[in-house]
Symmetry: C2
Subunit: 417 residues, 2 copies
């Protein structure tokens, strides 16, 4: 007997390892053809479910699916779309269930952050209410590392490794140039609300680099900041600043806010680095360079953390196993057992406890002066950047897969929200 089909979708900002989770879902599902029929992937995330654009992953070879483990970004496309609250407008969720019903989909694997955990929870609830129960399992993914009830989130470890290594490398550069030219390097990294990514820059301090970190959790104090930077320049000859894009003035205004807005109306950040660099030049006179990593940091599969890749894969695989065990409305999680040696196990959290909760940096992870990380933070971060998991290279370029993404024949009429 053939099992019911599964639907898998990628949500929100993609990462260097979200496809490793996709790989874990599809490879594990393929081992259970009696229980899971086909895995359909949403073309462009949940949009593909609403528009009935379902990628038939059974048409992709085992070899190509295996390549997902090494390929950054979202192989099926992702989206930034939050369905309307069903108590206000239930058409979106009803359409999802209609599409699931039309394609005999009994499993919903949703791979994303906080918003998608909420959607996943609602699908589980509403599908039951609507008489077509779907097992909804959430697979955590966010470079922001801000989901609750999991020790860490796939995607974060690789960004952390990228930021730690890049901070170290660029700091070696500034140090070499500091006698006659550049003395300041400002490195802007992602993290709108939580400073996890910026914190990773603090790992470069273990190599003799004077690093000043600006966290979103700490109100920006210009005078204190400039004083610390100048101290470092006087003592070491140079200073590296790692600034989170979400760093704010006491009045709540982002340093980086230049007025642009994204599709959700959120401030479109990016640009704290040049503002800080110019501030340092004007007030202290130090020559500077600055960089904004932006998408480079979250797509840098070439420098992914092996631990991160492995966990992303395992959580995708675990989601399928949980579904097969009859679980519903849960998120697969990482439970840390020990820091050193690093040990973890896969656990679960109820989606009702995950949705719409953001996990900030613990106060104990930020040093007293607000500009660095503590040993507790180092112990937390270090295991997550362990190991290299290089893609294959052909002619000097990494071999990344672009899937065929052939769509299943549509059965329903068009739909628009």
């Amino acid at each position: 007997m053939k099992g019911r089909n599964a639907f898998y979708a990628q949500s929100g900002g993609v990462t260097a390892v979200i496809n490793a989770s996709a790989c874990g879902v599809i490879e594990t599902a393929r081992k259970h053809p009696d229980k899971i029929g086909k895995v359909y992937a949403g073309l462009n995330g949940i949009v593909g479910a609403l528009s009935e654009e379902l990628v038939d992953t059974s048409l992709e070879s085992d070899a190509d699916i295996a390549m997902l483990r090494y390929t950054p970004a979202g192989a099926f496309g992702s989206c930034r779309l939050k369905l309307a609250d069903p108590q206000v407008d239930s058409r979106g969720f009803e359409r999802l269930i209609d599409v699931f019903k039309a394609h005999d989909i009994g499993y919903f694997f949703y791979n994303g952050g906080g918003d998608s955990a909420d959607t996943c929870f609602k699908v589980s609830q509403l599908s039951t209410l609507m008489g077509y129960p779907v097992q909804a399992i959430h697979i955590p993914k966010t470079i922001d590392n801000d989901l609750p009830l999991t020790d860490n989130c796939p995607g974060f470890g690789s960004v952390a490794k990228y930021v730690a290594v890049s901070t170290l490398e660029a700091s070696f550069d500034v140090r070499a140039m500091s006698k006659t030219s550049t003395r300041i390097f400002v490195f802007e990294v992602m993290g709108r609300h939580a400073g996890w990514i910026a914190a990773a820059g603090g790992l470069a301090a273990d190599y003799g680099i004077p690093v000043v970190i600006l966290f979103p959790e700490i109100e920006f104090n210009e005078a204190k900041f400039l004083e610390r930077v100048d101290e470092n320049v006087k003592r070491f000859g140079f200073c590296t600043i790692v600034v989170s894009e979400g760093c704010k003035y006491p009045n709540g205004k982002f340093i980086a806010d230049q007025g642009a807005r994204d599709v959700f109306g959120h401030a479109h950040l990016g640009g704290a680095a040049p503002i800080l660099a110019n501030m340092i030049r004007q007030k202290l006179g130090h020559p500077f360079h600055w960089a904004v990593a932006n998408y480079l940091q979250r797509s840098a599969r070439h420098l992914a953390s092996a631990v991160d890749v492995q966990q992303a894969y395992e959580l995708g695989s675990a989601a399928v196993e949980l579904a097969l065990q009859g679980r519903n409305s849960v998120m697969a999680t990482i439970e840390r057992i020990s820091d050193d040696p690093y040990q973890y196990r896969i656990g679960t959290a109820d989606l009702k406890d995950v949705a719409n909760v953001e996990k900030y940096m613990p106060v104990s992870f930020i040093s007293g002066d607000g500009f660095g990380i503590t040993d507790d933070c180092r112990s937390y971060l270090r295991p997550l950047i362990q190991g290299e998991d290089y893609p294959q290279y052909i002619n000097g370029m990494p071999r990344y897969i672009t899937l065929k993404n052939r769509l299943v024949k549509q059965k329903l009429g068009p739909f628009s929200i």
Copy 2:
């Protein structure tokens, strides 16, 4: 009999592989103690010669010197300092010769770009005139790839690899996000006068990525640019733009020029990406992300090209061999024999022909519309990004060496320019 000592200095912007050249110099010199005594390195480049701050590299272990091959940036420090024209003010060159004389230095290995080739040439000429002949050999280094008479310059291949890979990775990201959010990714790379680095972004086009390149060699035409970007978005759903920091308006003003100046009074570039991104948003309405790689690109030893590392090493080694052969006033060069299979040999160029000549992209390397690279350019670039040469990692971080850099006892009084 012990040979005369050698002086080695790093000049200008450092790279991911300039230390590999240092490694080649020091390891090769160590094989000829009868002909070369100690290798002294200038602390912070030529500044160290003027201030008589000479690093005694003989105090570094073989193992640590070997690690230079894997360590980015300038292990002895570099500087941006051009000595005054000796016909106007000869004190700088006279001081150099005084320091060389005081420390029995008979070989001058200068590792840098066009300015340092000029200095190297003058040292060779003036030392002879002053009755203390020093053999001056130049080792090419510049990520800008703009030195004449060598097929390519060490440092460039690794930046090209970084830019090609990063363009590919970030483009996969934008492609995945393009249905509901980001459709434009603007990636700003180095290259003040020549578009070699930006050209490397064109290698991502081989993987189905629509890439628009803005070269310094091509006057920026806003209307044509926006038209091309919009065409790509309509056809592919997204567009990646790789812009050289040196890209200019027809009136000569840099897109990136925001008024800051470096220590030489050159425009302090960086910031073309946000300007272009906002231009696209205002005129075409497409949501964007942008990144400025800046120092990240030239310090990214974690992604160095194996060909580049090897050539950097060989040119350092060749400089010593040339000195031992009695050569003077020459630069070691790369002579390409064939593209595929890639073959090259080490050659030489007379420094009088190198100094102050900048090599731009050949017209035949830029596509007719000015926004891409030709097959000739691909054939040129591909061999230079071949191979990976990963550093060792410990606890998730690359193992990079910081040398002891112990200074030789000073014999002369202080000096100031």
